[in-house]
Amino acid sequence: MKTKYILYFAVVLFLASSCKPEVNDFTPDAGSADFSTYVAVGNSLTAGYADGALYKSGQSYGWANILSAQLKQSGGGDFVLPVIESEQGVLPGKLVLGPSTDCLGNVSLGPVPANDGDLDPWNNHIDYAINNLGVPGAKVGHLLFPGYGNPANLPAGLANPYFVKFASTPDITVLEQALSMQPTFISLWIGNNDVLGYATSGGAGSEITPVADFAGQYGYLAQNLFAGGSEGILANIPDIANAAFFTTVPYNPIVLTDQVLVDQLNTAYAPYNAAMASLGLPYRVNWSLGANPMVIVDKDMGMPVPEFNIRQIESNELVLLTIPQDSIKCAQWGSAKPIPDQYVLTVKEIKNVNDATEQFNNIIKQTAQDLNLAFADFNSLMKQMQGTGLVYDGITFTTAFVYGNLFSLDGIHLSPQGNAVVANYYIDAINATYGANVPKVNISDYPPITLP
């Protein structure tokens, strides 16, 4: 009898050991969409541009590439990148975090030029068909412009070296090349550069695309892209003034610790204050011990004497990440010498950017509705990343530079983890619109920003 029970015992043990917990409740599915040929159309964000360059690993961490791998699990096909072979990029400018010594001899950590080997020759033409038509620097109108990929137009500045690299024929438009892929699913994220060029030049360089032009170009582009009945998703433009590029350098970095210097500066600006007072204008420049706002050039002041188009910056105005910090520390920029216009976004310029962004975004949203497409609201996502930010997989994302995890070292383009967040945001919108079940990625699978 004992034997029998002991044997029963052993049998139960054996059976129990063969059943293990498992969870497998998710079945990828395309819903009413067809992901078999996915084409991504856009600018540097779509291309996978990061750290001030389009380079090999950055390109593969681009959100479009991440998204394509998830779509592939839901019936999608291959997604071919115009592969960049160099880790340094195609054009110079790649940044890494590293120590640099400032004019005062202080060593600090910040973006410094990268040294990751030779550049990929931009004239090394890509001859194979590609699915990622993200062209760094492209505005809406550029995607419709024949010759934007023609090397003969480069000297006149009418062509884009990135599109030159992968345009299938010299005078094809980006739109035509996208349609030549016979896409079944298209993502279109464009319009950022229509305001960004203005913003990153402190309102001094490229103009904001007029709203009427944007509406015409965007409408034409979207209608033609989706004319063949393909499905897809449109994405709007994040309010660029939230990007780390504009929010990292404080407005008041002029720290005065010496009363003699304070007095000298106040004396130097006394004639300015007197002149402004005599003109009945509210502008004054005052200095005191501690942190002081910088003096900036503001061409919108419209003073009769151009030298008087200067004033102290307001706390709600933005200083660009590209400002030469050494000039502030050692060459009296911001105190004795006003900060040149191209490093500052004034309240008026910020309003121009915000207004244009809002109008462009209305056009994008309306187009998505008219064409029955999915819509990804990145403007709202980026707003949520201000302040305490958003958390995914235990990683906190904010708009802060480097430690905010969202932006790469150029302060505008996304980090690998930022790209993964964006890819998941696209997936949410696609799943909601098309009743699809595209699996999301683990944000924690993507590398953090490299610290030395």
Partner: protein, 404 residues
């Protein structure tokens, strides 16, 4: 004896597979293990030191030893929300053990000493898994040492109590979101005190009631070692070698059980356990250096749980008994603060056991439990990390008892 060897061999062939109910481990006697983990209304010799000091003085014989242990082969499986990503733990085998000795002085008083391990958790996820910024692995253990005194008043009423001295240790590894495989290792140990009180009442020969209360014990780690593996550029801000304080409550238990000797051979018992998990509100770490950056307060928001148990035992003879049991253990964790460091789901379990007494002095107890964590979707909101979890465990155990 040859058959027992065979049985042990079948243990060795088993694959790894979870345990449940927070980080409590009630496997403190192999007779009770097989009997739905019921011990409060019984007098099973020296293991009453843990289950109910009130019944200790009802032991047969003058001197009683018990020793034994179990092997917890547990697995937790996970699938991330909105994703087909799956992960499975590679938990090391949990090995709760116990040792009890008790002696009777006259008819009224019994004295005893128990060493047992009622709390523990060893969870190990793959080091690069999706939740690596929450937890990679955790090993928590606590050894309780309990000298006990018990009184038997006229074979009807028993009361007993023990002083508990606890030695505990914890080790945690988690990844940090910095480049170069950054992470932190936390290791600390602690000792604390508590008590265990029991009442036992035997209104008639064929039935008994037990009530037991084990106090909450707070394991305070002071000056634990924190080792940060981080990029060089951060080492000026965050020291690589640091000290930390933390506190983990081991909750109080209130157990009430009734046992009925239905026939000469058949014993039936039910028990209800109330576990005061509400004590575990948050897990906080404070660091000696760079505290403003590193200190964290992590909500856990556990709630008290209630476990109903049933056990049935059949004695074929003086020499041979078989038993079985079942229980339902609810999860103390809050759906919104459910962390993969302790995957505790609502759990159903059955238990099996047998005792073979080759002589009147020696008893050999075998037990086997299987637990089924009920699949559920959970999220840890502060880290926005969630998914569907399922758990399972098989737990064989072997114990020896000596009676003189």
């Amino acid at each position: 004896m040859r058959k027992i060897t065979l049985l042990l061999l079948s243990f060795a062939f088993m694959s790894m597979t979870v345990f449940a109910g927070g980080y409590q481990v009630r496997l403190q006697g192999n007779k009770q293990n097989g009997f739905g983990l019921i011990g409060t209304p019984l007098s099973n010799g020296s293991s009453s030191i843990f289950y109910n000091p009130g019944s200790l003085a009802f032991m047969d014989g003058k001197l009683d030893f018990e020793l034994g242990g179990s092997a917890i082969l547990s697995t937790a499986a996970f699938q991330k929300s909105g994703s087909n990503y799956q992960a499975v733990t590679e938990n090391p085998v949990g090995t709760p053990f116990y040792f009890y000795i008790a002696g009777k002085i006259g008819k009224v008083v019994a004295l005893g000493l128990g060493v047992y391990t009622p709390y523990g958790n060893s969870s190990k996820w793959e080091s690069e898994w999706a939740g690596k910024y929450l937890i990679q692995d955790i090993a928590l253990s606590a050894i309780f040492i309990q000298p006990t005194i018990s009184f038997n008043f006229g074979e009807k009423f028993g009361i007993g109590g023990g002083f508990i001295y606890t030695i505990g240790g914890v080790e945690i590894n988690k990844a940090l979101n910095y480049s170069g495989g950054a992470g932190v290792n936390l290791q600390g140990s602690s000792s604390a005190m508590g008590y265990n009180l029991g009442l036992f009442f035997k209104p008639a020969e064929n039935w008994s009631i037990g009530l037991n209360y084990r106090s909450r014990i707070d394991m305070k780690i002071e000056g634990g070692d924190a080792t940060f593996t981080i990029p060089k550029s951060l080492q000026g801000t965050i020291p690589t070698e640091n000290k930390f304080d933390a506190e983990l409550p081991l909750p109080a238990n209130l157990d009430l059980g009734v046992a009925i000797q239905a026939t000469d051979k058949l014993l039936i018992a039910i028990e209800f356990d109330w576990i005061f998990w509400g004590a575990y509100d948050s897990l906080s770490f404070s660091f000696e250096e760079a505290g403003e950056l590193l200190d964290s307060q992590n909500p856990r928001k556990y709630s008290d749980t209630f476990i109903p148990r049933i056990g049935i035992q059949y004695a074929f003879s003086e020499k041979f008994e078989i038993r079985g049991g079942a229980y339902y253990d609810t999860s103390p964790a809050d759906d919104r603060y459910f962390t993969p460091e302790t995957v505790t789901l609502n759990t159903l379990a059955y238990t099996l056991g047998l005792t073979w007494n080759p002589t009147t002095y020696l008893g050999i107890d075998l037990s086997f439990l299987q637990t089924f964590g009920i699949k559920a979707e959970k999220n840890y909101q502060p880290d926005n990390f969630g998914g569907t979890y399922q758990t399972g465990a098989i737990i064989p155990g072997l114990g020896l008892s000596f009676k003189f």
